[in-house]
């Protein structure tokens, strides 16, 4: 060994002066934390005092009491005789219902509009630009109220619009044909999901083998077997029936079919159109961020147009698209709280009613915040995982 490890200089002794950066750092931290603690303690003592004056007991015990709050639009069983806890769960399910479907639809429409903006057809590109510009520059709440008013102005159930057989649009909302799902149907759906997962691994294995010897192995027989034949077999064995129920007008309302209440439908349209305008811009800039040379080189290799888009351009564009897309998904979820303005009973609306009924302001708002923080965290974790998966592997 010719080189000796360099000796670390001896640590300077502490000086009790603000000119010593370590002492200054400690001083500022203690000061700021002290102020923060003092403010919180002051507010908390006021809250404790005010609550005792108003005879409101703190804590979440009220969740076990009878809610007495009607919720019209719920996917899980609920009556006003149920507890506040159950009402909150209904609210959370309603929030997730509008957020998840909204995210899927906004992504599809936003991507189409984003691609349309880059179209060589001048009219299509212009119309897409107008769509983006108008929707982005109006407050979401205004759009939501606008859609809701339009929804209320629709004809009554008896004069409902019928664009296609079995689909009705009236002031009762949108009514669609549905398939009643029994246990046997659920087993079949489960079989499709299981088949897709197994097929995913089979395909990965086939590609790995192709990497070894260069021989292409067709994947479609496996797809046919796992995703079509297997569920069909399960469906036949379990005796599932797939008859479609068409909604029927009886008296003043519809019976059968799937009903999207006007509040839900207005909220969904407003969220989807508003967010799709932002997603369109993200998709457009993502595609434009891929250098032209990439698609030109792929064409020079003789690859087909669809193949170039799917395997060359989109994977590179996705890297630019995913991070801003994540924040749009978070925005859509947070914006779904505007439901309270049209009376769709999501978590915020349920908490607001609870707050008015019980006076438990702190607990209700804390519950709203906890629910949204959890959802935000969930979306962030999923998108970060997806982003890491598609990230460029650099040497």
């Amino acid at each position: 060994m010719t080189t000796s490890t360099p000796k670390r200089p001896p640590a300077r002794p502490w000086r009790l002066s603000l000119s010593d950066p370590r002492v200054a750092g400690l001083f500022w931290q203690i000061l700021v934390v002290g102020i923060a603690v003092a403010v919180v303690a002051f507010l908390w003592s006021n809250a404790v005092h005010n609550l005792s004056v108003r005879r409101i007991s703190t804590g979440f015990a009220f969740l076990g009491r009878e809610a007495g709050m009607p919720i019209a639009d719920s996917w899980i069983d609920y009556t006003p005789k149920n507890t506040y806890l159950r009402a909150f769960i209904v609210g959370i399910v309603n929030t997730l219902r509008v957020a998840v479907i909204g995210i899927v639809l906004a992504t599809v429409i936003g991507t189409l509009v984003g691609i349309a903006r880059l179209s060589s057809n001048w009219l299509l590109a212009r119309l897409a630009a107008v769509y983006v510009e108008v929707l982005r520059d109006l407050p979401l709440l205004l759009q939501l109220l606008f859609w809701y008013v339009l929804m209320q102005g629709l004809p009554a159930a008896r004069q409902a619009w019928k664009p296609v057989e079995g689909v009705y649009l009236s002031n009762r909302g949108l009514i669609l044909p549905s398939v009643p799902l029994s246990e046997a149907n659920w087993w079949t759906i489960l079989a499709v999901i299981a088949g897709l997962i197994v097929f995913h691994f089979v395909r990965r294995r086939l590609i790995a083998q192709q990497m070894l010897d260069g021989r292409a192995r067709p994947a479609w027989p496996y797809a046919l077997g796992l995703v079509v034949a297997l569920p069909a077999l399960v469906s036949w064995l379990a005796g599932a029936s797939w008859s479609i129920t068409l909604p029927e007008l009886r008296g003043f309302n519809f019976v059968g079919g799937l009903t999207l209440a006007p509040e839900y439908f207005a909220l969904l349209i407003a969220l989807v159109t508003y967010t799709s305008a932002f997603i369109a811009e993200i998709v457009r800039s993502g595609i434009q961020a891929v250098p032209r040379g990439q698609s030109e080189a792929a064409k020079a290799l003789g690859l087909k147009r669809g193949f170039v888009l799917q395997h060359i351009v989109l994977p590179q564009a996705l890297r630019v698209i995913i991070p801003p897309m994540t924040s749009q998904y978070l925005n859509l979820t947070k914006n779904s709280s505007l439901a309270v303005a049209v009376g769709y009973q999501d978590i915020v609306s349920v908490a607001n009613t609870t707050l008015n009924q019980t006076g438990q302001a702190i607990e209700s708002i804390a519950l709203i915040m906890m629910v949204f923080l959890t959802i935000s965290l969930g979306i962030s974790l999923f998108m970060n995982w997806y982003n890491a998966r598609i990230a460029l592997v650099e040497r």
Binding site: G25, W28, Q29, V32, V33, A36, L43, W44, N46, A47, H49, N50, L51, S120, N121, W122, L123, L124, L127, E133, V134, R136, D137, L138, P139, L140, L141, L142, L145, F146, V149, L150, G153, K334, N335, S337, L338, V340, A341, V348, N352, L355, A361, I362, I365, I368, M369, F372, L373, S376, L377
Partner: protein, 373 residues
């Protein structure tokens, strides 16, 4: 160089070839290239023209041909007779004063109108690159003070008007602009705190930013309207508008902190090190060297954030503060005008759109200048 001089001159220089002649005239060439380039493109064009034509005709019939433009007093029978076949624009001349200025005393409404003009002038001045100096902060402080004096009054013969009578466009502009004006310094402090080496300060700032950004604005507004009074000592009563304004400032602070942090990260390390080498203190380093560069860098995203605030102010409708959208919604509570909400929403929509469109155009022109440079 010399070898080039020896080369023989080209005896017959070939002139540039004429540009390929387009089929048909200039206009038909454009049509062919942009609308009818291929068969699918042509089908798409025809389909869109058909849909667009239908929509235009429908809008023409509803909004112009069949519309009622003026009625006398509250007699809306002419509008009702249309049964939705035409718009009732008469609601706009009837209600515009209430929509724009809310319940502000009718004879004094020149004051909020002047305040709106000052706001627009302030935005116009701030958009000029030549005004991006330290004096701009003083100008903002002065303009906001003048606006406050105008709205409140109580001096020089102006009657005093309490905040609960303010309404309409000035309230929307006040919430957004004061939110920006106070949220910006807060955002700078939090952004610096988030990049600080001191763990306690850093985690406090991270907690603040992530908490605010993780929850919907409505929950913050609910906090301001129902939870805030619980946290105040006895006898302290803060006005509802002011509470909403505080919620907006806290909300703005968190989002602006992230914008400013982006700018701080864009300042090269050498700038920080050079400032340290000169022996500047932490605050001198940031005030004189780092922040002026960082803020210039984030002006386009700052404008975009402001557009978002401007739209988000409409959420105060839910806690019952009279901003532009709430006054619009209240204007049609009047039984005579109840069924003409679409017309009123179109009216306020146009106002919101003009502000946001102007700002987003401006932000894009800034971006374009930057990429051009």
């Amino acid at each position: 160089m010399s070898s080039v001089a020896h080369l023989p001159q080209d005896p017959l220089p070939i002139g540039p070839r004429p540009a390929p002649r387009a089929l048909g005239g200039h206009f038909t060439a454009w049509l062919r290239a942009n609308l009818f380039a291929s068969i699918p493109s042509s089908i798409m064009t025809l389909l869109l023209l058909f849909v667009l034509g239908k929509a235009c005709i429908a809008f023409w019939q509803w909004g112009i041909a069949n519309a009622v433009w003026i009625v006398s007093g509250n007699d809306t029978s002419a509008c009702r007779a249309l049964r939705g076949a035409g718009a009732c624009w008469a609601v706009v001349p009837e209600k515009y004063r209430f929509i724009l200025f809310g319940t502000y005393p009718f004879d004094e409404q020149w004051r909020p109108a002047l305040a709106v003009v000052i706001f627009i002038a302030l935005f116009a001045v701030s958009s000029r690159r030549s005004f991006w100096r330290k004096e701009l902060f003083l100008l903002w402080a002065a303009a906001l003070a003048v606006i406050g004096c105008l709205m409140w009054g109580g001096f020089l013969g102006l009657s005093f008007v309490t905040q609960d009578r303010w309404g309409g466009l000035p309230v929307t502009l006040i919430l957004a602009t004061f939110g920006l004006a106070f949220g910006f310094p807060l955002g700078i402090l939090v952004a610096l705190g988030r990049r600080s080496k001191l763990p306690a300060i850093r985690s406090l700032c991270v907690l603040y930013v992530e908490l605010i950004r993780g929850v919907p604005l409505i929950s913050l507004l609910f906090m301001a309207s129902v939870m805030f009074p619980l946290f105040m000592p006895d006898g302290v009563n803060i006005d509802k508008l002011l509470r909403a304004q505080i919620a907006f400032i806290l909300y703005a602070g968190a989002y602006l902190a992230e914008v400013v942090r982006g700018g701080l990260q864009a300042v090269p390390r050498g700038q920080y090190e050079a400032a340290d080498a000169l022996g500047l203190s932490y605050w001198e380093k940031h005030a004189l060297i780092v922040l002026p560069q960082a803020i210039r860098h984030v002006i386009p995203p700052l404008v975009n954030t402001f557009i978002a605030f401007f739209k988000d102010t409409s959420l105060v409708l839910i806690i019952g503060i009279f901003d532009l959208l709430t006054t619009a919604k209240t204007a049609i509570v009047d039984p005579a005008w109840q069924s003409f909400s679409v017309e009123v929403y179109v009216f306020v929509g146009v106002i919101y759109f003009m502000f946001c469109f102007a700002m987003s155009r401006y932000s894009r022109s800034l971006e374009a200048q930057r990429t051009h440079n």
